[in-house]
Symmetry: C2
């Protein structure tokens, strides 16, 4: 019963059961995948300030290409993080916005930001 930090901190609920352990690892990788890559965080941040059209995102998320933007948006839509609405204006306009479901993700992102900020300080201060 001496498995150190993880159990003692009650951060990992299940101990040495390989299957539960693997499920947990997969869950973590799922989340990392949903948030990972070069652009997702920027897109979420941009949409965090309000709904945007495709061309607005293309302008605001600096450096992204049209192809990658549309792919990322599609993926985030199938992950239910984003709502896509086609307006029947002339010419046609498409609006993207964060979904309500995406709100669950914001505290997670917040923690990533906090830890990253502190970590950067820590690393640059190391001799």
């Amino acid at each position: 019963m001496d498995h150190s930090i993880i159990d003692s901190k009650a951060c990992f609920t299940t101990p040495h059961d390989a299957q539960a352990c693997n499920k947990r690892i997969m869950a973590i990788h799922d989340t990392l995948y949903v948030l990972g890559g070069k652009w997702k965080i920027s897109i979420i941040t941009s949409l965090g300030f309000g709904k945007k059209r495709y061309s607005e995102l293309l302008r605001e998320v600096k450096g992204i290409s049209g192809k990658v933007l549309s792919r990322e948006l599609k993926e985030m839509e199938t992950n239910l993080l984003i709502k896509r609405t086609v307006l029947d204006t002339q010419p046609i306009a498409v609006e993207y916005e964060l979904s309500e479901y995406c709100e669950n993700l914001l505290p997670v992102i917040y923690n990533l930001a906090e830890w990253g900020t502190e970590h950067r300080k820590k690393i640059v201060s190391v001799p």
Copy 2:
């Protein structure tokens, strides 16, 4: 002053200041990088159950190659997540363990696991 979810949930501290925004995005990517890739979470999980030697990790982290393991360990060491101790036994043995600093990361990982678990349920239940 209508920038929706993010501010209303107080999840992003600073509003529409581009520089602060970018710093935050970088911080998030730092964290994602520290935890990202195919193996880091598995290594942390394995070391979470107690200190391990190189060859033990090679056996327990199933599928990893020696090259990648040593690279990941080095990187995690420079990120101060891991302590490396050379024991002067014969033959020489090297022990790896999670650092105290790494404990700060465990709640973050915990959140990733929780969200990932719920998200998987959500996605498979979608029509």
